[in-house]
Symmetry: C2
Subunit: 183 residues, 2 copies
């Protein structure tokens, strides 16, 4: 099995990416601290053609050298915006008709492997989805969770309380788009 | 939706984890450079009850302060071993009857969303699976890919050539175990 060269991967250039169809998913980072995590999430949003990344609170927006080190330029392809208040960003997306999903372990959270049987799926007839990921230690704040339509939880059977936030983002985005026609 | 407290998550302690049933998946890191990535992958292997993490080549094994910073102790729960030569580790698992999968973009690689229709699934009647992830820039070496039964590729539709390696590991592990009875 010969490895493909970078040229053979046929990736888009930035203008083509910006005009290409996107998956109807927006990612919100609620006070994510690590620039390395923010950069990795930009890279995942690029790979999965996510329509927008919304940075809020202490989540540092580009340009920043340490974001660039892990985003590797995906901060130039992916559409993004910054809001100081996470709640404002969420309420604005709610008004636009988005389904709002916290990635969080709550009473009644939907296990990720049941998400495809929930109303929160990507389908041409369904509302677009906003996925919120939170702070490395504190997660999505309770105040923000209270604004969400549902919480989705990645089933975890180990000793630690959670996965790395960039890994969680990648897994939840993959689960949402794995049946997408863009895939 | 009230957030669960850490106590309510009911996570295992380390002795209970070590004696608990595992998913029949081994992860091999072929010359992964970043200690932050190695630590995150330990954390994902803990969350998904992976049986073993095999570090090879320049992939630094624990104990290391920078692995601990991102593994947060998962390096004490997850079983691991170190081999200087990746090929030796792969050949040993082949001899033990493992299916060996490179996470790599190759001629004929299986798109991850088709993996569940391939022979490389977790099933009581199927062989266990070893998943190989490679260096942050160079990926899995061609020499190692040549020893694999198949390559699996995460479909990516953006501008960058690849996802972060810890994010890729999390996504591929999730796809393998999302229907696992341990989930």
């Amino acid at each position: 099995m010969r490895k493909l060269t970078n040229n053979e991967l046929g990736r888009l250039d930035i203008p083509s990416f910006r005009s290409a169809p996107k998956n109807r998913v927006t990612v919100i980072l609620d006070n994510v601290r690590s620039l390395n995590n923010i950069g990795s999430i930009f890279r995942s949003c690029d790979a999965f053609r996510i329509e927008k990344l919304v940075l809020t609170g202490i989540s540092t927006p580009p340009p920043h050298r340490d974001i660039h080190k892990s985003a590797l330029g995906a901060e130039f392809s992916v559409d993004w915006e910054y809001h100081s208040q996470t709640t404002e960003a969420v309420l604005s997306l709610k008004e636009q008709g988005y389904h709002i999903l916290a990635v969080e372990q709550t009473v009644g959270s939907i296990p990720l492997n049941h998400l495809s049987k929930s109303p929160y799926i990507l389908h041409p007839d369904s509302p677009p989805i906003a996925v919120i990921l939170g702070h490395e230690i504190h997660g999505v704040s309770q105040e923000v969770v209270n604004l969400c339509d549902a919480a989705v939880e990645i089933p975890q059977q180990g000793t630690k309380h959670s996965l790395n936030v960039a890994v969680s983002a990648g897994i939840v985005l993959w689960e949402l788009i794995r049946k997408s026609p863009i895939c």
